[in-house]
């Protein structure tokens, strides 16, 4: 039997994945009320918050309406595009 013992220490480093942003862009056709309605329907946002995001889209040209893991972000972008909102998907910097 050896008189020494080797201890192995394993360190696991978990870094949070960089989130993905779901971005709605302004367009000249979609009604403001409709954008608010869609954001409430898809994300379950209350009317005040959905209106705030809609106004960002309208006034600033775009709004990050959700951030998180890729799989969910893809789902949300797909849903928003089904509702004909100009929506893109970008990994946050």
């Amino acid at each position: 039997m050896p008189d020494t013992t080797t201890l192995t220490e394993t360190k696991t480093s978990v870094s949070p994945q960089t989130p993905w942003n779901v971005i709605v862009h302004d367009d000249p056709v979609n009604l403001m009320g409709y954008v608010t309605y869609v954001l409430m329907k898809i994300f379950g946002y209350n009317e005040n918050f959905a209106t705030h995001l809609m106004l960002q889209v309208h006034q600033q040209g775009l709004s990050i309406v959700w951030s998180g893991e890729l799989e969910k972000a893809e789902f949300y972008v797909q849903q928003l595009q089904f509702h004909q909102l100009k929506t893109s998907l970008e990994q946050a910097e």
């Binding site: 056709v29 009604l31 009320g33 409709y34 004909q84 998907l89």
Partner: protein, 156 residues
């Protein structure tokens, strides 16, 4: 043409003249008058190379099919109403369940007109300055927008 909300939370459209039917059928013509189809344009918004290829291969065809289904549904509603008048009336009923398809079809038509004519969010205040074809397109776009507002208010 008369458009009115129903007690069930939908809308009823009563076309009264041949021109009314023409405008309703024009929704479908306008929606299909684009250079690049809406599904391709929306899908093109996803440009990250880790996602874009799958988007083109899987999501865009689904979008295209969904948008075409909406157009087919409202075409069937219009033509059924036109073919089977009742006591001289041919109302088109839009139930709550149908409302999104109508909204979608009207949006497709407005987007295609916008792509073609570039009316912008605030069309020129004097449409009489427009060429006749453009003027008619603007009027149709404004009618579609009014109908969408009605749908949003009463049926969605």
């Amino acid at each position: 043409m008369k458009v009115a909300p129903t007690l069930e939370g939908g809308l009823r459209i009563d076309p009264e003249t041949a021109e009314d039917w023409h405008v309703l059928r024009a929704i479908l013509i306008d929606a299909n008058s684009h250079d690049t189809d809406l599904a391709t344009r929306l899908g093109g918004m996803v440009t990250d190379e880790r996602v874009a290829e799958d988007w083109r291969d899987f999501v865009v065809p689904d979008l295209r099919e969904s948008f075409a289904d909406d157009l087919n549904q409202i075409q069937a509603a219009i033509e059924t109403a036109a073919a089977f008048p009742n006591d001289g009336e041919s109302p088109i009923w839009i139930t709550r369940e149908d409302a999104f398809s109508w909204y979608s079809a009207l949006n497709q038509a407005r987007l295609a007109l916008e792509e073609r004519y570039g009316f912008g969010p605030d069309p020129e205040s004097d449409p009489s300055n427009h060429q006749p074809v453009r003027h008619e397109a603007l009027l149709r776009s404004q009618f579609y927008c009014a109908l969408q507002s009605f749908l949003l208010q009463h049926a969605l």
